[in-house]
Assembly symmetry: C2
Homo-oligomer: 414 residues x 2
């Protein structure tokens, strides 16, 4: 179960219930595809099973993709690292046109044991296609060579340039529904296929997402989401939304949240510039970093705490009484996870005492079901904020300018 | 060389020159210790050399520390990973009371080949001492056992509880000057000792920092820093300072910057709440994430771009003309690093066009000298901002509340 406790005064249901209808209308319209992904996931996994049979020698699955093409699978794989079936291949990512990262990965794997997914919704992302070329040349596996289709596949929109390329060379192709944006695509082929092939429980992931859909979308029980979104939308001076996640496993989830939030909710609306700024923190590490600013800096932040009730860790901190260090004996005998959670609770109390808008999300445990639920929850929260802010949550017009300038800098003739 | 180009209108030198005197007075006062660390570093390294001779069998150096006790060394080790002398031991970190991270590290190393530094300025950080106890018990190496001093050492303030503990058991101790705060301690024993023992060029690191001291502190040539700090201090509506670093090597540097900035510059001042909010991004990855918000969201951000002129990477993107994908041939034949830098330039132009306060820091290359220079530069920038904001840059009173509440939650009797 995921529980969400609000530590701020909710508004009257009358004020927010109209937005439920708007949300449900958006779901029913069919124009925003991500809402419906949990229903279609099993078909994608079935197709991935067929591919897996062909890839019996493969020990590495490499996602070549950036932004929405990598962040979702990265987040899931980091959160569920502990329950991965290690008889499956390992998952790697090639995201950035970074000279050192590229060489570090390519020097550590070989062609015979590797399968590369070129993942790009548009099919023409400069980083992704450039990286794919580097891989092809480095591995000596060029389009047209007889082994090419054994080592490369694509995940893209149907009829994109990359889809046409894949068809010409007989590569395995998986499609992203046209009405599913990159940052909302984790439960499409973009996330499911690489995750299934590398031993993650994608069925449970879908079940959890579906449970969230039932709880928050189809029924009118999404009060926590509505209250939060309303608060974020009207509380203009607090435009920074901190997600304080307790546990190292959430590092990549924070990055996924940052993309989802920033790219969806930062938009021009006529002459107005609207936006909510995401900040992802890890507890307790960032109690020794960003917390001071939350506590004493301007009240321009809201804070969501995220923790896992049961880490399944039974090893206690040893009952050692070290000379001179007796002041910190109070953690002795407690499990590591329970101290981590107490730190979360203590920091939350201190933030609440400062009068800062705060809420707590608790997962019973960190497994595929809860991860699916959590990610779907954040997608619906993002959509709800977008509806309340009156913006288009699903486009990203602001990033096109730099792409055009890049072509100018590199002397592209058009 | 580090060059810093400002893409905003500077103010008259008259307005800012007074702050140079204030900065130099702070340096001369001797009350803020980090300014002088480059001068003392060699003595610390000499002592670390003696320790290294004793540690001939050691293949792993593990820093047990959190916040200022780990972020600096982590940042340096990530930026300089490529030029590390791999005949030295490997560097690891145990930071967080996270059940899974702790077990993942401890299961991968053994006692005979490992040396653990307990790093805590106060000497009584709950995470650090708890983790140290877990390590001692897991490795079967308790205080009093005959091998204890061969595998544990401390870095702390003189006469702290941890120092007394180390003395009782004959552990190697390195001291942090009392007037050097954790987040400013990377060039003290906290950073230098673990980095030296694991094959990083700490001499060059110190030389670079010293060069920055000469350029920006001792002489009155710190115009770029003064102009930026002044802009950040007076430009109240832009209180979020984005550092957009191009290259995966900067991930941990961004985290170090975040702590330095947030903990130093978020402060209550009488009834006023003052603060600048740091956000660290990685290019080009975050062009596919946070950039949309910068471009179209509220103008509450300034952006510093950081790039490396010469990545030393000569492998070009292969000149492959893939069918259907000819629109993205414009990177063909260019080195990976040059495309990365062009992306930085393009994104910077697009941000400048929106009228957002922007500047560019360029490092000639990414080596120890430049890393030392860069980190010292950021420390001085932080101090200068603190002077202009009229706050105490060097304390962190806001984080104490949650520590007290934690003890209550865990039932500590006082």
């Amino acid at each position: 179960m995921l529980t969400n406790t609000l530590h701020f005064k909710p508004v009257s249901t009358d004020l927010i219930s109209a937005y439920t209808a708007r949300l449900n209308a958006e779901v029913a319209s069919g124009e925003v595809g991500y809402y419906h992904l949990p229903e279609y996931g099993n078909k994608i996994i079935d197709k991935a099973k067929t591919l897996k049979e062909k890839l019996s020698k493969i020990k590495n699955v490499v996602v070549i993709g950036i932004g929405g093409s990598s962040l979702g699978a990265k987040a899931v794989s980091k959160m569920l690292h502990h329950e991965r079936d290690t008889s499956y291949a390992q998952l790697h990512f090639l995201e950035n046109l970074d000279p050192w990262s590229v060489h570090a990965l390519l020097d550590s794997i070989n062609l015979d044991e590797s399968f590369f997914f070129i993942v790009s919704k548009s099919g023409s992302t400069i980083e992704t296609i450039s990286l794919a070329k580097i891989v092809m040349a480095h591995m000596g596996c060029l389009p047209g060579s007889f082994k090419f289709a054994d080592h490369f596949g694509v995940i893209t929109d149907k009829d994109s340039p990359l889809d046409s390329f894949a068809n010409q060379f007989g590569l395995s192709s998986f499609y992203i529904p046209q009405n599913v944006g990159g940052r909302f695509s984790v439960l499409s082929a973009v996330g499911l296929v690489p995750l299934f092939l590398t031993g993650f429980d994608t069925n449970k992931l879908l079940e959890g997402a579906n449970a969230c859909k039932n709880d928050f979308v189809d029924k009118i029980e999404n009060e926590a989401i509505l209250q939060k979104a309303y608060r974020y939308a009207i509380h203009k001076q607090a435009s920074i939304n901190v997600l304080f996640s307790y546990g190292d496993a959430f590092k990549e989830f924070n990055a996924w949240y940052t993309q989802l939030w920033a790219e969806s909710l930062g938009k021009k609306h006529g002459f107005a510039r609207i936006g909510l700024t995401p900040v992802g923190l890890i507890g307790s590490v960032d109690q020794h970093s960003f917390l001071q600013l939350i506590m004493e800096g301007p009240k321009d932040k809201t804070v969501t705490f995220l923790r896992v009730k049961d880490w399944g860790d039974r090893t206690p901190i040893p009952n050692l009484k070290l000379p001179f260090l007796d002041k910190v004996n109070y953690s002795n005998g407690l499990s590591i996870g329970s101290v981590l959670n107490a730190q979360c609770g203590a920091t939350m109390q201190s933030v609440i005492q400062e009068g800062i808008t705060t809420d707590l999300i608790e997962l019973d445990k960190l497994d595929a079901w809860h991860v699916g639920y959590l990610m779907y929850y954040y997608e619906v929260l993002t959509s709800t904020c977008g509806i309340m802010l009156g913006i288009n949550t699903y486009d990203q017009p602001g990033v096109e300018v730099s792409k055009r300038i890049l072509k100018n800098i590199l002397g592209v003739k058009r």
